[in-house]
């Protein structure tokens, strides 16, 4: 396998190098560097959005989720993603319209301008920092678990994490957002191809769909229905997950920024349904891998199942492609998130263009080092940690939505989202009760956050109307 691995890695690294070279420009402004010149087409847009969305969490987490919790994993991610892409049609339009009026350098700066309040920007930045750092660390952790299991004596866990972070830093610092988008496109294509090859191989090794499902029905029939053998996929869990995922483009800045930098609304709309198709195509084979796991490796630990299903049970070229594909998937999400944190910081700075760019590049380096440290202390539950990140950032969604919808957004939403975010963080730290009324924290918070935000927005709409009429 080593020969194949060297071959595919060389090809992959060469394409990343080419992407950085094509994107590098000596006299670029910070807008060129951070926002890719805001002139991205629909094909590149859809590939970069998809690659940022689907990552180690999909590649490794979803097969394990299907294996452990059953078919409800499809509703958890695929149905939620399909709802999310529909949201992009309206949100993309409203966001771009407002961004053309007040300017856009990042979500934090944008919200700060709309609310005319610096705390609004800080709230968005704090939420991004608190929940993107662990999310990036999940990706890095994911790849290091897999590579350590695959090559136990080569280098330690943290060595793999360091390789990933250094590689990402080199090409993002050279080429900026455009290099990241080109590399996302390459990584998206690799990921889709690899996951289908592995998915079909696993399906065939499970004895085909019919035989595989029959074996699962015999051994653990609860995998074939909701809520799954461990009772995870209850209705409140699935509905809360759907809300958190639908709000990803609103509350996770790496996606919000991608909607703004596309060259036209048409490109955003084409991108929306293309991402939906990509989501179905990329999640379906993870169900096949999960089915294979449920048949052949029902009780082994996650790392053992993944290294067997993705690597040791595959032919050498496929196994080598899996390593490169997983590395690519992980890299694309990691760089999108770290770079987004840099973009958010820059949008709050007020100095000279050159000075801001230098500070941002330095901040990206610092964020990467924090991620590297964090990745060594993360747990192995990739999907659940990703879900916490989605739910955590969604607490500030009312603020971003109000900034997009209203000319003078209601400041009471800043207090509401601030309180929701604080409670969510405190519940994660175990300082306040996690959830209430029999619901998990996020589902319980949505029961308060959504109706109260709606009442505030509707009341504000009529107050503004009356003020204008008077």
């Amino acid at each position: 396998m080593t020969g194949w691995l060297i071959f595919f890695f060389t090809l992959f690294l060469a394409s990343l190098g080419f992407a950085s070279y094509k994107s590098y420009s000596k006299n670029r402004s910070s807008d060129d560097f951070m926002l890719g010149g805001s002139n991205i087409g629909s094909v590149l847009g859809f590939l970069t959005f998809s690659a940022a969305l689907f990552s180690a969490f999909t590649f490794m987490g979803m097969p394990d989720f299907f294996r452990t919790h059953g078919v409800g994993a499809w509703i958890f991610l695929a149905v939620s993603d399909a709802l999310m892409v529909f949201m992009l049609i309206w949100f993309g339009y409203a966001l771009r319209k407002k961004a053309s009026q007040v300017g856009y350098k990042g979500v934090a700066g944008f919200v700060q301008s709309c609310f005319q309040n610096k705390w609004a920007g800080y709230l968005v930045f704090i939420s991004s920092f608190l929940f993107l750092i662990p999310y990036v660390a999940i990706q890095v952790r994911g790849i290091s678990i897999f590579l350590s299991a695959a090559f136990p004596d080569l280098i330690p866990d943290w060595g793999w994490s360091a390789v990933l972070v250094v590689l990402m830093l080199i090409y993002s610092e050279i080429g900026g957002l455009k290099a990241i988008m080109y590399s996302d496109a390459i990584q998206g294509v690799i990921m889709l191809a690899v996951i289908w090859i592995i998915g079909l191989t696993c399906l065939s090794m499970a004895g085909g769909l019919e035989a595989g499902l029959a074996k699962v029905e015999e051994s653990n029939a609860a995998l074939l229905s909701l809520p799954g053998p461990k009772g995870l996929f209850s209705s409140p869990f699935l509905i809360a997950s759907a809300i958190a995922i639908v709000l990803i483009p609103v509350s996770q800045p790496q996606f919000t920024t991608r909607l703004v930098v596309l060259k036209s609304l048409k490109s955003v709309h084409k991108m929306a349904y293309a991402v939906g198709i990509f989501a179905i195509l990329v999640i379906l084979p993870t169900a096949f891998i999960g089915l294979y796991g449920a048949v052949k490796y029902p009780d082994v630990p996650t790392a053992e199942f993944l290294s067997a299903a993705l690597l040791f049970d595959q032919a050498s070229p496929v196994a080598a492609l899996a390593v490169v594909g997983l590395f690519a998937a992980c890299l694309s999400t990691t760089n999108a998130q770290i770079f987004a944190l840099g973009t958010e910081l820059r949008s709050l700075l007020s100095g000279s263009d050159k000075g801001n760019m230098r500070i941002t590049q330095l901040a990206i380096l610092v964020f990467s080092l924090i991620v590297l440290g964090f990745s060594t202390i993360m747990s192995d539950e990739l999907v659940m940690l990703a879900r916490v990140s989605f739910a955590g950032t969604s607490m500030i969604a009312p603020v971003v939505l109000a900034a997009v919808i209203f000319k003078n957004p209601p400041k009471s939403l800043l207090i509401l989202s601030g309180l929701a975010l604080t409670y969510f963080v405190l519940s994660l730290l175990g300082l306040v009760p996690a959830g209430f009324a029999g619901l998990q924290t996020d589902a319980a918070m949505y029961c308060i956050l959504i109706p109260v935000s709606a009442v505030i927005m509707i009341a504000h709409h009529f107050t503004q109307k009356n003020t204008h009429e008077a």
């Binding site: 078919v71 529909f86 909701l226 759907a242 198709i277």
Partner: protein
């Protein structure tokens, strides 16, 4: 006309999503199967495809244009 179709599409998405969580994605339901595929999976797949199809229609019939580039 475009605006009317867009409103119908939004309504369809709401009905499909709320209806799915209320009537399709219910606990301990395995049958009717499609071939050998359990109920939750094939209906989930169908709902996801339907929602992406509605997204495509939404992109065609979205009633607003943007006046200038960002």
């Amino acid at each position: 006309m475009k605006s009317k179709i867009w409103n119908i599409i939004v309504l369809a998405v709401l009905i499909v999503s709320v209806g799915s969580f209320l009537f399709l994605f219910v606990e301990n339901k395995v049958t009717p199967k499609l071939g050998s595929v359990p109920f939750v999976f094939w209906t989930g797949l169908l709902v996801a495809i339907l929602l992406v199809g509605l997204t495509y229609l939404g992109s065609v019939f979205f009633p607003h244009d943007e006046s200038k580039k960002v």
